[in-house]
């Protein structure tokens, strides 16, 4: 990287940059050498940044009209929808924006799983990502409580009660979280405060996430280390900027479809009924993006063990760089892992589906099988696969198989498969 040699052209630029090297940073971000074979699955980092900014901006505006009080919250949300100029639009963007954020983050996570982006030397990027994901879930959960509808209230009751599973101190912790003996006004006001805070914590972590990324540079679809800068890289600007911008436009079409055509399809009708502590809705379901974990929680017949299983399902991801023993990053060169990868994708989708269904009969059985498989994948299959799998030959550079300068025909074949993946 040429960071150290960079000097601004203008005298003022030099004067400023000597005192605060912002221009050096801008230059680094512009010239940042990026593998030239990044496909569209790599555009979701930019899309996620857009999602975060959208949530912060729309949330800031909503907070100008929302009233965090148990007696007024529900009405203030309807006031936003009916009276505030463009309030309906801003709220629908914010509510659907949460779903879009999770859609993008799941694609981003599964991209990493397929191409082995979590492996050395990128473990810290991955772990920061998992922390961001946890904070996203906390922010989304607390945000869902704020409209103070039936699902808000009972979702908050069920989730905070998860802490009561902790032996001895559990009940005390739940009372402390509530600020009372049930979910009530003190709970609402503190959730609002934290919901406002967390996006800024996420923003800080995103900076660390990108900083950590810029140390080793991007992984790429064939998962090899790339010399930087070289024939294998292109500057971030304009190549990646344009590609990211185009993908973002495509993503915004999907986003706009939900906002303008089916703004409530991802929500739950019960949340348009004001919170009532005396009546539990017949069927409590969390938002779609939490369903797989909800299915894991319900598939275990014991309360404490259910909570432990659910939390483990998330925290196990943080240990992934060490659970996956294979030296090869990309699934392109791992014929067996590729199959297990798709089974895992199916497994998570099945968990999501049964999480939305009542916890009984066949659904419960499926949830238990899928939960078992989820843990098997990470704790048994991945560690063993690294030793047993016969991986395909990996090319030495991104350019090599394309130019045909190599006798490594297998690698060239794999590259054609790559083309199909794009």
């Amino acid at each position: 990287m040429s960071d150290h040699e960079y000097t601004p052209k203008s005298n003022f630029g030099k004067w400023f940059n000597d005192r605060l090297p912002l221009l050096t940073l801008a230059n680094h971000l512009t010239d940042y050498p990026t593998p030239k074979n990044l496909n569209y699955w790599w555009t979701f980092g930019g899309i996620l940044t857009f999602c975060l900014v959208t949530q912060i901006v729309t949330g800031l505006v909503l907070a100008m009209h929302y009233i965090a009080h148990a007696d007024m919250a529900f009405d203030s949300v309807e006031h936003i929808m009916r009276d505030v100029n463009y309030g309906w639009l801003i709220r629908y963007i914010h509510a659907n924006g949460a779903s879009m954020f999770f859609l993008a983050v799941y694609i981003h996570i599964f991209r990493s799983l397929f191409y082995g982006s979590y492996k050395a030397p990128r473990e810290i990027i991955w772990i920061i990502g998992i922390i961001i994901y946890l904070l996203m879930m906390a922010a989304a959960f607390m945000g869902y409580v704020l409209p103070w509808g039936q699902m808000s209230f009972w979702g908050a009751t069920v989730i905070t009660n998860l802490f009561s599973a902790i032996p001895l101190v559990g009940e005390g912790i739940v009372t402390w979280l509530w600020g009372g003996y049930s979910v009530d006004n003190p709970t609402l006001t503190r959730f609002f405060t934290l919901h406002y805070l967390i996006p800024f914590l996420i923003l800080g972590l995103v900076v660390l996430h990108i900083w950590a990324l810029h140390v080793p540079g991007n992984n790429n679809p064939i998962g090899i280390d790339v010399k930087k800068p070289s024939k294998d890289t292109v500057p971030f600007h304009p190549y990646i900027v344009i590609k990211d911008a185009f993908a973002l436009l495509m993503f915004m079409i999907v986003f706009a479809f939900f906002v303008f055509y089916t703004p409530n399809i991802l929500g739950h009708a019960d949340n348009y009924i004001e919170a009532n502590p005396l009546v539990t809705p017949a069927h409590i379901v969390p938002e779609w993006y939490l369903l797989p974990f909800y299915a894991i929680l319900r598939s275990v017949p014991d309360k404490l063990m259910g909570v432990i299983a659910m939390l483990s399902a998330i925290f196990i991801l943080a240990a992934l760089p060490w659970l996956d023993t294979s030296k090869i990053r990309s699934a392109v060169f791992r014929p067996l892992y590729r199959q297990f990868y798709w089974i895992l994708v199916a497994d998570v989708l099945i968990l999501g589906y049964v999480g939305a269904m009542p916890a009984e009969g066949l659904y419960l059985l499926i949830a238990r099988v899928a939960t078992t498989y989820y843990f098997l994948h990470f704790l048994v299959i991945l560690p063993i696969l690294g030793f047993k799998e016969r991986t395909l030959p990996v090319p030495l550079s991104i350019t090599e198989p394309v130019l045909g300068g190599s006798s490594n025909l297998a690698a060239a074949r794999d590259d054609s498969r790559l083309e199909k993946l794009k």
Binding site: W154, T157, V158, T160, N161, L162, S164, T175, W176, L177, W178, G179, G180, Y181, S182, V183, D184, P186, R190, P277, L278, V279, T280, P281, A282, H283, I284, R298, V300, P301, D302, K303, L304, G306, P358, A359, E360
Partner: protein, 169 residues
């Protein structure tokens, strides 16, 4: 590093660290404790309920500390049923006699001990309550019989102020 001797400086370090730790603790605790139930929440600790109009077989739900409390006037058959259950069949063994001092009246927190939903009245496999959230079945004494809930529904502190009035809390 030669022979280590306790010096005046070591004492100062230890004393500073100790005072600092107490200071940090004393500053952090109010920040944590402010989230616990405040005086106005605690002040609403008891509720009186008039039950004079309740016939046997009827359940009412009243709000106490923001939580629902079920008050059921049980029929003689229900009392017999509740008292006939063997303790060995129970996940959380409790005698009905201990749960309903006056067998006709069952007063309990209408909160599922799994994750806090409000169970539905006269539903489920045991003719008592059924929690729609995650499928816990309770009997006519509010004891957990099937499903993920770990314990029986809680009995709050209550007393009959007179023949027609129950004071909860």
């Amino acid at each position: 590093m030669s022979e280590k001797k306790t010096e005046r400086r070591d004492f100062l370090f230890t004393a500073t660290a100790a005072v600092g730790a107490v200071g940090v603790g004393a500053t952090v605790w109010p920040m944590i404790d402010q989230m616990n139930p405040d005086a106005s929440v605690k002040a609403l600790a008891s509720t009186e309920v008039d039950v004079s109009s309740m016939n046997p077989g009827k359940t009412i739900t009243v709000l106490w500390r923001g939580k629902p409390v079920f008050i059921r006037r049980r029929t003689p058959e229900e009392i017999d049923e509740a008292r006939a259950v063997k303790l060995d069949d129970l996940k959380h063994p409790e005698k009905d006699e201990d749960r309903a001092k006056n067998p006709e009246w069952l007063v309990m927190l209408g909160v599922c001990t799994h994750l806090g939903c409000v169970p539905l009245d006269q539903k489920g496999d045991y003719n008592g309550w059924f929690c729609p959230c995650h499928g816990s079945h309770y009997d006519i004494s509010g004891r957990i019989r099937k499903g993920p809930a770990p314990t029986n529904m809680e009995i709050p502190k209550y007393e009959f102020v007179n023949a027609n009035t129950i004071k909860i809390g």
